[in-house]
Amino acid sequence: MSVADPKGLAYWTVADTARRVAAGEVTAEDVVEQTLARITEHDATLGAFLEVDASGARAAARLVDQKRAAGAPIGPLGGVPIALKDNLVTKGLVTTAGSKILAGWVPPYDGAAAERLRAAGAILVGKTNLDEFGMGSSTERSAYKPAKNPWDTSRVPGGSSGGSAAAVAAGLCAASLGTDTGGSIRQPAALCGVVGLKPTYGRVSRWGVIAFASSLDQVGPLARTVADAAALLQVLAGHDPRDATSLTAPVPDYGAALAGGVAGVKVGVPKEYFGPGIDADVRAAIDQVIHQLRDAGAAISEVSLPHTGLALPAYYLVAPAEASSNLARYDGLRYGARADAPDLLQTYMRSRGAGFGPEVKRRIMLGTYALRSGYYDAYYRKAQQVRTLIKRDFDAAFREVDVLLTPTTPAPAFPLGSVSSPLDMYLADVFTLACNLAGLPGLSVPAGFTPAGLPIGAQLLGKPLDEAMLLRVGSAIEGAVGLADRHPEAFA
């Protein structure tokens, strides 16, 4: 494959790129130049990136090439161009979390995700667009610009990791990282027709993840294939003493799980996820996946998660409450924008009032409301109790089955600007929230397209730390659906 063939390079898998760079078929510098060229060509349309680090990427690529030339190991992701959601802290590279309040902030340290990717030889090409602080499901709530869906640029890419999903779908990087608090990796992955993995809470370090809701946030990969997602998880997973919620369990070989097949695997289909609100095309696509899995030897059974309907209200108390606390540090006093105000109180009020966008303000208000003395028990504590009930539903289901299959979203990507009420927007995550509340791993894998050509995602939910099972079943679905080579025409 010639590097002069940007189309081919654009959609190389992670494994392909790493192998070719390692074998000297292509230099990391060539990969980076082609990638940067594609970003320049397409991102004005897509709005997937907030920051492109051309010089940093070139320097990193040179280093990989020098190492290879010297016969030194270049790492499992050597030369692979990866984009990071802009709520992942990168030393020396502007990190804003999509918010005006962090405009121009250059972190003096690397988060764990950036550290691990760099150590694995990956090239960090830039920071991707997101709903401000991860609060949104469309990437329209970015303080800078909306991102677009590569399959139909009049539609949203989903969110909040919309930039990461769009960049991967449009071949502007080999893979990307997102964060998932209530579906923010899986939902945009589904809407953009890529693979998105939210690991078990604690599997991947949160050190350097700009917190939205600390008990729910988790970093994970978005990629064009399940194997690529596995390769990234392999690098990201593992204990980090700087994150007290990081798990110490050993990290299995995820790649080895991929070829396991689904014969004898018990797949549960929770009936609560197939109610009347679900789009007919989505329903049909998931039904098709169910048939395919059954044909491949999986044991399909219906299960019940009776508290599913409570996930949305519980989530919209827990997440804003934690967010109102996590965002208290943005006061303009040590970094970020400080308003010119006559006194300390007004400095706080004005800096925060001007720095946060409407959705962030709404959630800070909601969270502050719920945490007040006298309201705490009725709201926050109640929501955390309901969380226990939701977790127990999953525990019970996983005594019967190995994995749960649901649609990732009730509907495919919606047009930009079409959802205006906050509550309607929250409904876009209705199928993905429970997974975060329970701390479970979740995978969205492409399940087909609507007749209009919009991607549809199937969601797999697994037992804690059983990412391997998700990847195994996800890989089987990917093979059965057979659409991993289909890419949006406008970005061919």
Binding site: W207, S214, R329
Partner: protein, 493 residues
């Protein structure tokens, strides 16, 4: 002191016959860790501003807390030493307020599930111990420092994130003296256990006091005021004394006590209401999602119990009861672990427990005097405890006189030579043998025949003269008891 002050003091004293002060203390103690409570920057004092930070301390986006094991161990040590109930599973909570010295907009503290509850602290009051109950001891992180600089403030975050325990007493102290004693007892205890250096100059022990008054016999507490910034034993006593008097005067004038926070100003000797930080605060406590519950298991408790030394209050009682020390000596000896340990080593090296009082005397006067003169602490003493004990034994068994003993002490302290060696080299053993002393006494009487006659005819005062002459003849080595006996016998009175 002015006439009005005397008058008002008298009226305060009178009012105290009817009114009872009730004081509760909240004391923050800095734990002696090397690194911060939740991150790895250092805790040294007096470093250049903002030179002890890390992403967590600065509250940078994406930074997380990870709890310091040693801070937990130190807090547990205090919990065990105060016989507190230790929670097997306690929690950190976030306490929210906005202030420039608080980088995250919340302080990591403990709220409804603190590490320790229902303990007690033993105060030394006179010869007795007074037990004060503790509501709780919880873990938290310190804030940075705001410094006033005219029209602006300056912030130094070096102290931010330093681990603290907050020790909260029940409201059952009844005087300013007791409040100060509480501080002393806690100060002694945390130093004793190496929990904290508790250097008040460095702000390592800081106290807030809740003060109220109520009619004697009343069960309900009166409205309390909170006094802040009382960071020495003396300040605590002054501030609480002043606040009790202030409240009594308000009541006397028919007024009502307002619930408020007041800042003590030691130079002015008065407190002033602290303008409420902002409007009514609501700290919005909730369990910190970044920090899993703090689990204390049997292994951890076992380690603490095994290494816990005998506590100062216990030793104070033992020194009096078993060793017969005076309350003053006992109190002084337990004021520092080093003193008590040195003393115990002296006692251990001494052949008889009855020597304890002498050992205490020698240690507290001679040894401490010599150490003070050289600006040394007991742990830096050049004279090991067994040496002091050996010296005291030489005096007790009459080998040397007390007076010579002091000379020997000085030389041994200075040179490190063992006391017995000095005694032998200098030949200063006391002469107690009557056979040796009798000729000396005879010689003295013969040489002072007139004085002998005067004494015999009733001039009692001359006895001392003869003792002095005998001492002179023996270069002070005569055993005074033996010499006195011989003189009385030979002078015939």
């Amino acid at each position: 002191m002015s006439a009005e002050q005397k008058l008002s003091e008298r009226s305060v004293a009178e009012m105290l016959l009817d009114w009872e002060p009730v004081i509760g203390l909240e004391v923050h103690v800095q734990l002696a860790t090397s690194s911060k409570a939740f991150s790895p920057s250092g805790t040294a004092f007096g470093e250049p501003p903002n030179s002890l930070t890390d992403p967590t301390v600065l509250g940078l986006p994406g930074a997380l807390p990870a709890f310091n094991r040693h801070a937990l161990e130190l807090a547990l040590r205090l919990g065990v030493a105060t016989s507190s109930q230790i929670r097997a599973k306690s929690r950190f909570a976030r306490k929210h307020y906005f202030y420039p010295d608080l980088p995250k907009g919340y302080q990591i503290s403990q709220y409804d599930e603190p590490l320790c509850e229902h303990g007690h602290l033993d105060l030394i009051v006179g010869a007795e111990l007074k037990r004060v109950r503790l509501q709780r001891i919880h873990l938290e992180e310190d804030a940075g420092k705001n410094l006033h600089a005219g029209t602006v403030s300056h912030v130094d975050l070096n102290r931010a994130g330093v681990p603290l325990v907050e020790v909260v007493s029940e409201p059952e102290l009844t005087s300013a003296e007791e409040a100060a004693e509480f501080m002393r007892a806690l100060h002694r205890l945390v130093r004793w256990l190496d929990i904290s250096e508790a250097d008040m100059e460095k702000g390592q022990l800081r106290c807030d006091a809740n003060v109220s008054i109520r009619m004697r016999g009343e069960d309900r507490l009166g409205t309390r005021t909170e006094l802040k910034n009382i960071n020495s034993f003396r300040f605590v006593q002054h501030a609480v004394e002043h606040e009790i008097a202030r409240q009594l005067r308000i009541i006397d004038a028919g007024g009502r006590i307002e619930r408020e926070t007041r800042l003590w100003d030691e130079t002015l000797g008065q407190s002033a209401p602290l303008r409420s930080k902002e409007e009514a605060n609501d700290y919005r406590y909730f369990p910190d999602p970044d920090l899993p519950p703090v689990m204390v298991d049997g292994g951890m408790m076992g380690g603490i119990l095994k290494t816990l030394p005998e506590l100062p209050a216990v030793r104070f009682a033992r020194y009096q009861k078993e060793l017969g020390l005076s309350p003053d000596d006992a109190r002084l000896l337990v004021s520092e672990r080093g003193l008590a340990d040195y003393f115990d080593a002296c006692v251990a090296a001494h052949p008889s427990q009855r020597g304890a009082r002498n050992l205490a005397n020698w240690m507290l006067t001679e040894l401490l005097g010599a150490l003070n003169a050289e600006g040394k602490s007991i742990t830096e003493s050049p004279m090991p405890a067994p040496t002091l004990s050996a010296l005291v034994v030489l005096v007790e068994n009459g080998t040397i006189s007390g007076k010579i003993g002091k000379e020997i002490f000085e030389e041994s302290f200075r040179t490190g030579e063992p006391p017995l060696a000095i005694v032998e080299r200098r030949g200063v053993q006391q002469i107690s043998d009557e056979a040796v002393l009798a000729p000396v006494v005879d010689k003295v009487i013969a040489a002072n025949a007139k004085q002998a006659k005067d004494y015999q005819s009733g001039k009692d005062g001359l006895f001392g003269f003869f003792v002095g002459q005998v001492m002179k003849e023996t270069q002070g080595r005569a055993n005074p008891v033996v010499a006195n006996d011989l003189l009385r016998k030979k002078l015939g009175r």
